[in-house]
C-alpha cells in the first residue's frame, strides 16, 4: 500500500510531515553524521538574528522530571554568516530548509525576512523565545506586537511564513488567529514553557540566566491541548510540537489537529529520533490501512 505522507503550507510541498524543531538540529550539518537529513519533511534552523549573538551564561541546561529547562539565549553567528557560510553547504539537502528568525524589534524581523527571501523554502518567525531580554517571547505574548511583526515579515517576503507561538499566554488561540489574519501561512506551537529550578543548598537558580524554557515529555499533554484549541480556531495549517518522543505521541498531535510536527528535545536523547518517528508514523498508517496522513488530522473523537 502506498501511503501519502505529503502535505502543504501555502504552495510549499512537504514530502512528509516530520520537521526538526529550531535549536535542536543545528543547521543539519552535524546531524548528517547521525541521520539522512534528506529523508525529513524539512529542517528548521537554529534561530538567526541580524547580528551575531553570544547567548547566555552557563549553566544553560538543567534536567527536570521528564524534561529539561534550557536557556541558550539564541546563540548564533548572525544572518551574514548564515547566508555566506552555512546556507551554501545545506542547499544540497533534498528537503525543505526553513529559516527561523528572531529580531529585537519588528524592523529587524523585516530585514531578516528580506535577506532570506528566495533563499530558503520558508521562514519560521520566532516570537516565542523565553530566554532573551529584548524581543523574543514578549512579541508573542501581545496581540498588537504579534500583528506588527507578522505584517512586516509578510511585506518583505513571498516565502511561506510560519509563526512560532509561545504557550505562555492566556489564550494561544487568539494569537494564532491574529497570525492568520495578518498573513501567516501556518503557525507552529508550542515553544517552551517558562520555568525555574533552584539549587536548595546554594539558594541559587540552576540556570545561569535564572529562568529557562521547559521542553520534553513533561510538556506533551499541555502542548497537545494548545494544538487542539488552536486548530479549531484557524484554517491555516498547524505545526505541532512539544515533547513528541515517539510515533504514538506524533499520531496524537495529528489527531489533535496538527498537519505537520516538529521533533525537538527527543533529538537530544536520540540523534535519529525524527526519522524513527517518521518510520513509526508510516507503520501505524499502514497497519490501520489509512491511505494518507491528511485523513487523521484533527480527527480526535469529541463526542
Amino acid at each position: 500500500m502506498n501511503i501519502d505522507l505529503t502535505t502543504k503550507i501555502g504552495e510549499l510541498r512537504f514530502k512528509n510531515p516530520v520537521l526538526t524543531a529550531s535549536g535542536t538540529f543545528g543547521y543539519g550539518l552535524i546531524m548528517e553524521e547521525f541521520s539522512d537529513v534528506s529523508l525529513l519533511g524539512g529542517i528548521i534552523t537554529k534561530s538567526i538574528t541580524l547580528k551575531p549573538k553570544v547567548g547566555n551564561p552557563a549553566p544553560r541546561i538543567v534536567e527536570t522530571a521528564c524534561g529539561m529547562l534550557n536557556s541558550i539565549g539564541l546563540e548564533n553567528r548572525g544572518i551574514d554568516n548564515f547566508l555566506e557560510d552555512i546556507l551554501p553547504g545545506i542547499r544540497r539537502f533534498k528537503t525543505n530548509i526553513i529559516a527561523s528568525i528572531a529580531g529585537k524589534d519588528e524592523d529587524e524581523y523585516g530585514l531578516l525576512a528580506e535577506r532570506l527571501d528566495r533563499q530558503v523554502s520558508a521562514i519560521e518567525v520566532n516570537i516565542s523565545c523565553p530566554n532573551v531580554k529584548e524581543g523574543g517571547m514578549s512579541f508573542g505574548q501581545d496581540i498588537s506586537s504579534t500583528k506588527r511583526v507578522i505584517k512586516k515579515v509578510r511585506m518583505k517576503t513571498a516565502l511561506p511564513v510560519i509563526v512560532k507561538l509561545t504557550p505562555n499566554v492566556t489564550s494561544i488561540e487568539d494569537i494564532a488567529k491574529v497570525s492568520e489574519d495578518n498573513g501567516a501561512d501556518a503557525v507552529s506551537l508550542v515553544n517552551t514553557y517558562k520555568g525555574l529550578s533552584i539549587d536548595i543548598s546554594s539558594r541559587k537558580p540552576e540556570l545561569g540566566s535564572f529562568t529557562g524554557g521547559l521542553s520534553g515529555p513533561a510538556i506533551k499533554p499541555l502542548a497537545l491541548y494548545s494544538i487542539w484549541k488552536v486548530a479549531k480556531n484557524i484554517d491555516i495549517p498547524v505545526i505541532g510540537c512539544g515533547g513528541i518522543m515517539n510515533f504514538n505521541d506524533a499520531i496524537e498531535f495529528f489527531m489533535a489537529g496538527a498537519s505537520l510536527i516538529e521533533i525537538g528535545s527527543a533529538t537530544f536523547r536520540e540523534p535519529n529520533a525524527a526519522l524513527k518517528i517518521l518510520k513509526g508514523i508510516k507503520h501505524f498508517l499502514k497497519t490501520k490501512k489509512i491511505k494518507a496522513i491528511k485523513e487523521i488530522v484533527g480527527t480526535v473523537n469529541e463526542n
Binding site: G26, V62, E63, M68, N70, I72, E75
Partner: protein, 259 residues
C-alpha cells in the same frame, strides 16, 4: 568514515571501588575500539523519560569492543548507572569529542583532581603502550581507594597529594607541578589536566607563566553531546564567542578557554 554510533551496550562488570565510585566495563557490539584519550560517550540510562537526558562520561579505558567508565554517584542518573548489573543494557553514543593531542617531543605531566583521573587514566595507558615516559600528579581532598587503584597501575609514575595529608604530600595538585618540573631531567613539557575548575585555572596559569602547553578536559552540563543544543558552551578567551565542550572539546588548549 566515522565510528560514532549509538551502540546497544551490555554491562560486563561493575566494580565497586569506593563508597560512591564504580568502574563499569561495557561491551559495545561492533565498536572498532578506535577512541582517543579524552573522548567521551553519552549514556542513555533506560527507556523511561526520567532521567530524560543522556549522561556524558569520559572513556576510562577502551580495548576493541570493551569500554570502561568511572562513575561517581552524585545524582539520580549516576546512581541509576552505578546500580547496573552484569548483562544489563544501556545505549552508548560515541566516541564523541576531541582527545588529548600528544606532543612527541615533550615530557607529559598528567594532573588529575579526584574523578578527573578518568580521561587521564586512558591517556596514561596510551602513553605506556607507546612506551612514552610520563608523570601523574593525583590530588584528592582525602585519600580514597581510587588512589590505590592508580598506584597499582601506574606505580612510581604517580605523585600523590591530598588536602589533608592523608596520602602523599599535603598540597594541591597544581602546587605540586613546580616540584615535579624542577626536579625533572627533562626540559620540555606538556601538561594534561582534568579536575575541578579551580585546579584547572591554576594549572593553566602555571603553564602560561612557564610557557608550557596545557591541555584541559572540561565538564559542562550538556543535553545532546554532539554540538546541536549549544547547552555546554564555554567562553572562548579573547573573543565574546563560545565554544562547545562536546564538539570543540572536551579537551581544549588552556589559552583557548575562559574557565
Amino acid at each position: 568514515m566515522t565510528n560514532i554510533k549509538d551502540y546497544p551496550a551490555i554491562v560486563i562488570s561493575n566494580k565497586h571501588i569506593d563508597d560512591n565510585i564504580f568502574l563499569i566495563e561495557l561491551l559495545l557490539p561492533g565498536f572498532d575500539g578506535k577512541a582517543e584519550p579524552g573522548q567521551f560517550i553519552m549514556i542513555k540510562i533506560d527507556e523511561t523519560y526520567d532521567p530524560f537526558l543522556r549522561r556524558p562520561y569520559s572513556i576510562f579505558e577502551c580495548k576493541k569492543e570493551k569500554v570502561k567508565i568511572l562513575i561517581k554517584t552524585v545524582g539520580k542518573g549516576s546512581k541509576m548507572i552505578a546500580e547496573k548489573k552484569r548483562k544489563e543494557e544501556m545505549d552508548i553514543l560515541g566516541p564523541l569529542g576531541n582527545g588529548f593531542p600528544v606532543d612527541k617531543n615533550n615530557y607529559p605531566i598528567l594532573v588529575a583532581g579526584g574523578m578527573g583521573i578518568a580521561p587521564l587514566w586512558f591517556l596514561g595507558r596510551r602513553l605506556t603502550k607507546l612506551r612514552n615516559k610520563f608523570s601523574i600528579i593525583f590530588g584528592e581532598k582525602t585519600t580514597t581507594p581510587l588512589a590505590e587503584e592508580i598506584k597499582k597501575t601506574f606505580g612510581a609514575k604517580v605523585f600523590f597529594v591530598t588536602d589533608d595529608g592523608s596520602r602523599g604530600i599535603k598540597l594541591t595538585a597544581s602546587a605540586a607541578l613546580p616540584l615535579i618540573l624542577d626536579k625533572s631531567p627533562y626540559r620540555k613539557f606538556s601538561i594534561y589536566a582534568c579536575g575541578p575548575k579551580g585546579m584547572l585555572k591554576d594549572v593553566i596559569n602555571f603553564g602560561s607563566g612557564r610557557n608550557i602547553p596545557v591541555y584541559v578536559s572540561l565538564e559542562e552540563k550538556m543535553a545532546c553531546g554532539i554540538g546541536v543544543c549549544l547547552g555546554c558552551s564555554v567562553k572562548r578567551r579573547g573573543t565574546d564567542g563560545f565554544l562547545t565542550v562536546c564538539r570543540d572539546g572536551p579537551v581544549f588548549k588552556g589559552e583557548e578557554v575562559m574557565i
